[in-house]
């Protein structure tokens, strides 16, 4: 019986105007998305490859001298662009895709320090005068456009029938109400999935046909999960439509209510709520960061000067200098990291509060599965951090291999000056790991599922109590 009702709904929808318009709209959006991606992705990859090669060349040049390598570091560390960028753009223009290094350089004492990570703190792209637009990615197509369409498919499914009087007719038959509801839900789901699947297929066809973008096995796996989430998200909005449609007696009222809910939760909550809750915490400002940095710096130099004032033995001084530069580097790196982490915490909190909107949840899910956006940025930072440790360990190790060295890391007199083989130096490679992504995604996926169950059972309860 469920299938009977679903089929009837499906036939109804197939002939409707909304079905035709949806098909055109989705096809247009998905094709634009694919074309833009195959145009832009090669440029991104090329840029990444060029900068990685440049970093490697820099590394090779510096391999001539272990001390110089320890001081100058491995060059810039770059974030790898994701091949699934078309699924979620994730505010990437606002996130830095490179982490640099720095080292202490005091001209007065002639002391040069040890390499450390230096996280970017500047606002990128101050000269962008082009109008701000949302990228047409899957997040936009599914979370914004398709959710609206889902509401348009169900806003009158119960209230409309009640207005026409056909609901009374249908319920006169011995059909349990939940069957009717599920039938209607399935009918709407299938009919909205027809144009959606078509559009997605066209999109993926265009992308996979182009030689510019190569998608590997994991990428297809990720796409599969993304599509599953998309269907869950659409179902959620269909259930919402059914719920409101069952509660109110007029289709017009149902539509107005749904549209207002949609505008609030899909358009406003993800950004306005984030701005509100972002205001609760105030991370270290740039001025404060600079002030603390200078304080640390002068404190350390004062200790240095005091020590040199009292101690004259060259061997002790050399020991102290080594300790001075390595500790200085560690201290500054810690501060730079703390500055960044306070900013990250603010954003994390703001993001967590937006999770009352299903649109924001699925946007986060899309981003983490596509390997873009904020979560990816955090992963990249994590990667650079562990690489920095690896790099330092290598320096110490390589220095130990040189019998002539005094093994005092960070200063010229105390370290090996010999060349090291450039193959042996660890190289930074940014990686994406699906399991890590999926761990962060699991809770959000659960939340999305809960939303769906609550809404569907709400729709059921509303429909059961409805008087025809």
């Amino acid at each position: 019986m469920i299938w009977h009702i679903a089929k009837r709904e499906l036939y109804d929808n197939l002939h409707s105007l909304r079905f035709a318009l949806t098909t055109i709209l989705l096809l247009g959006l998905m094709l634009t998305n694919a074309v833009v991606h195959i145009k832009e992705h090669p440029i991104r990859t090329q840029k990444y490859n060029a900068s990685v090669t440049e970093s490697l060349n820099v590394l090779r040049d510096r391999a001539n001298n272990l001390y110089e390598l320890a001081r100058e570091g491995p060059g810039l560390l770059h974030k790898k662009p994701s091949a699934l960028h078309f699924c979620a753009e994730g505010g990437e223009p606002f996130l830095s895709d490179v982490v640099g290094g720095a080292f202490l350089w005091s001209t007065s004492s002639g002391l040069k320090g040890f390499w450390r990570l230096d996280y970017p703190s500047a606002t990128p792209n101050l000269t962008n005068i082009r109008p701000n637009i949302t990228k047409v990615d899957w997040v936009f197509i599914i979370c914004y456009a398709l959710s609206l369409i889902a509401l348009l498919f169900t806003f009158d499914s119960i209230s409309g029938e009640r207005e026409h009087g056909t609901l009374r007719l249908m319920l006169a038959n011995p059909i349990p109400r939940h069957t009717v509801l599920i039938g209607k839900f399935l009918g709407a789901l299938i009919s909205i999935n027809i144009p959606f699947t078509l559009a997605v297929l066209m999109n993926l066809l265009v992308i996979s046909m182009s030689t510019a973008v190569q998608l590997d096995g994991t990428a297809w796996g990720r796409l599969g999960i993304i599509l599953f989430i998309a269907v869950l998200y659409i179902s959620l909005f269909l259930a919402l439509g059914l719920l409101v449609s069952a509660r109110v007696s007029q289709s017009a009222v149902s539509l107005v209510t749904l549209l207002l809910i949609w505008v609030t939760f899909v358009i406003f909550v993800p950004s306005t709520l984030a701005s509100i809750t972002g205001g609760f915490s105030s991370p270290m400002s740039r001025d404060e960061f600079r002030k603390r940095r200078d304080e640390l710096y002068s404190e350390r130099w004062k200790r240095y000067d005091d020590y040199l004032f009292e101690v004259f033995e060259p061997s002790k001084i050399i020991q102290f200098k080594g300790k001075h530069v390595t500790e200085e580097a560690a201290e500054q790196e810690r501060l730079s990291e703390e500055h960044l982490m306070q900013q990250v915490r603010q954003v994390k909190f703001a993001r967590a509060t937006t999770q009352i909107s299903p649109a924001a949840i699925s946007q986060h899910l899309f981003e983490s599965l596509a390997g873009t956006g904020f979560e990816r940025y955090l992963q990249f930072l994590e990667n650079t951090k562990s690489y920095a440790q690896q790099f330092r360990a290598f320096i110490i190790d390589a220095d130990r291999g040189d019998p002539e060295s005094l093994h005092i890391i960070g200063i010229r007199e105390g370290m090996s000056q010999k060349p090291v083989s450039s193959e042996a130096i660890p190289k930074f490679e940014d990686t994406l790991s699906l399991s890590k992504d999926f761990n962060t995604a699991a809770i959000e996926l659960l939340l999305l599922g809960m939303f769906f169950i609550v809404l569907l059972s709400g729709a059921y309860l509303a429909f059961v109590r409805v008087e025809v």
């Binding site: 606002f94 996130l95 101050l126 000269t127 456009a145 950004s271 984030a274 972002g278 940025y377």
Partner: protein, 501 residues
């Protein structure tokens, strides 16, 4: 008769659920957003004040004329609340130095903002109207004609001696009056919240600008109402009208502005243009360098600049700053002698004549660089951005956005006003130098006989452009929106007159 019709329609509309919902949701969103934005503005203003204070402090510490590099700051625009435009996105601090013409592309950002928070798109009041009010206008309009036709009441009305134009007009006027309620109330509340906050100082001009924004909003609202009415006049059934309206709305508001720019704009910057201009600029500076070296070679007194083998304590910089992407090329030569050796005293007139030669040469080269750089920047950066904006204006949403930005002064021209002011200030500084005969003076490089007294140098002050200029910038878009209104109304009238009931 018209009054009766309007009264009936207004009563009809006022008692509906959609009206209540419209008022509720607009008020809720506008108030929430205004509170957030006011807080944000206050923070930016505090940052601005701190920056101005530090920069003022720094400028007082400059001891010689050649040290005169001043940072000027762009105040946050209080009307960015209505339409944020480019106000938060572009640099708000720029260096004014006699040897370089500052532009938007050389600006820096001061402030305590968390740059990562930018991943959340910022929302302003105009955006709420753009999305919510247009949707409400369509919801009010879709059944205006099709609904009456379906129920048969249209036939009833037309049996009376009422002209069809009157019916249309009555419907239009009454619905607009109902739609104005949420618009005006929320605007009023927003302005009230603004005036209660102590950090906002709005003058009469600002209120005129806000009035301009309100007027533009009304015109925009009317466009969407008329689009809905057109759809309603063309279709027989309300259900069809509703579907069409929703898809038209989705297309105009959500899809078009995002798709058009992604799909059509070229992503490559004209690299050949950049490279050729930059090489021309480089030639200018090579010429400068040659003349500089020539002068030093012919110099009677041996020694390199800046030291000239003098015994001195102080600081100096001599550097070229280049950036090929933004065509930046500048030369800084600052010199500050705190203490001068007695023996070097005879050399001082010689250094004076050196700077008397060098500074005008730097000025001249900087001005010539600007002549090359200005048209190139316009072509490389400004033109594509303007093309983007024209493409956006094919949808009424784009026109509305552009017009309100122009009123608020947060559009590209409004921001460029600040940089023109910075350029004028540079001229003021140069005039001041000429006035004081600074280039030839000892204080250009030496502060040992007393530091420069900057107190007579005029302070930098940025005055927002006149309301008249804002109006002039907004006028094309507002008049376009008005034209669309008239055209739509005429078309609806024609369709409605010809249609059978």
């Amino acid at each position: 008769m018209l009054i009766t019709l309007i009264r009936r329609e207004i009563l009809d509309n006022l008692m509906t659920f959609r009206f209540a919902a419209a008022v509720f949701i607009t008020l809720l969103l506008v108030i929430a957003t205004t509170v957030v934005l006011i807080k944000d503005y206050e923070r930016r203003l505090a940052d601005y004040n701190t920056a101005v204070k530090t920069h003022h402090q720094q400028s007082l510490e400059k001891k010689t004329y050649s040290d005169g590099i001043f940072n000027v700051d762009r105040p946050p625009n209080p009307l960015s609340l209505f339409n944020v435009g480019l106000d938060k996105q572009l640099g708000n601090q720029v260096e004014v130095y006699h040897g370089f013409v500052p532009t938007l592309w050389d600006a820096q950002m001061h402030g305590s903002d968390n740059p990562i928070m930018n991943i959340f798109s910022s929302i302003d009041i105009v955006f709420i109207f753009e999305v919510v009010l247009s949707l409400l206008a369509l919801i009010f309009a879709y059944d205006a004609l099709a609904g009456e036709r379906e129920r048969g009441t249209l036939r009833l009305v037309l049996t009376h001696a009422v002209s069809r134009g009157y019916i249309l007009l009555a419907k239009y006027v009454s619905a607009m009056m109902c739609l104005l309620v949420p618009l005006l109330i929320s605007m009023l509340l927003a302005v009230m919240l603004l005036t209660t906050s102590t950090s906002f100082s709005l003058n009469a001009d600002d209120f005129l600008r806000i009035a301009g924004i309100i007027f533009t909003s009304i015109v925009y609202l009317s466009v969407f109402y008329l689009i809905g009415m057109l759809i309603s006049a063309m279709t027989r059934r309300t259900a069809t009208a509703l579907m069409l309206s929703m898809f038209v709305w989705g297309f105009l508001v959500l899809v078009y502005p995002n798709v058009i720019l992604a799909a059509l704009t070229p992503h490559d910057t004209p690299e050949t243009r950049t490279a050729s201009t930059f090489s021309q600029i480089e030639q200018l500076w090579e010429e400068f360098d040659r003349e500089h070296k020539q002068y030093l070679k012919n110099d009677a007194v041996p020694g390199e600049s800046p030291g000239f083998n003098m015994g001195w304590v102080g600081s100096s910089t001599r550097r070229f700053t280049k950036n090929a992407a933004t065509l930046k090329y500048s030369y800084q030569n600052t010199f500050r002698i705190e203490k001068l050796n007695e023996r070097s005293e005879p050399k001082v007139p010689h250094v004076q004549s050196y700077y008397q030669f060098l500074v005008p040469l730097t000025l001249n080269t900087a001005n010539q660089t600007w002549l090359l750089r200005k048209p190139a920047l316009e072509e490389i950066f400004v033109k594509p951005a303007l093309v983007d904006r024209i493409l956006l204006k094919l949808s009424p949403v784009g026109m509305y956005d552009a017009a309100t930005q122009a009123w608020a002064g947060t559009d590209l021209f409004g921001i460029e006003d600040f940089f023109s002011a910075a350029q004028r200030y540079r001229q003021t500084v140069i005039d001041y130098f000429y006035d004081k005969k600074a280039f030839a003076s000892r204080q250009w490089f030496a502060a040992d006989k007393g530091a420069v007294d900057w107190s007579t140098l005029p302070q930098f002050f940025f005055q927002k452009s006149d309301v008249g200029i804002n109006a002039k910038r907004a006028l094309p878009d507002v008049s376009l929106l008005l034209t669309i209104n008239v055209v739509l109304f005429v078309v609806i009238f024609l369709i409605f007159v010809k249609s059978e009931v």
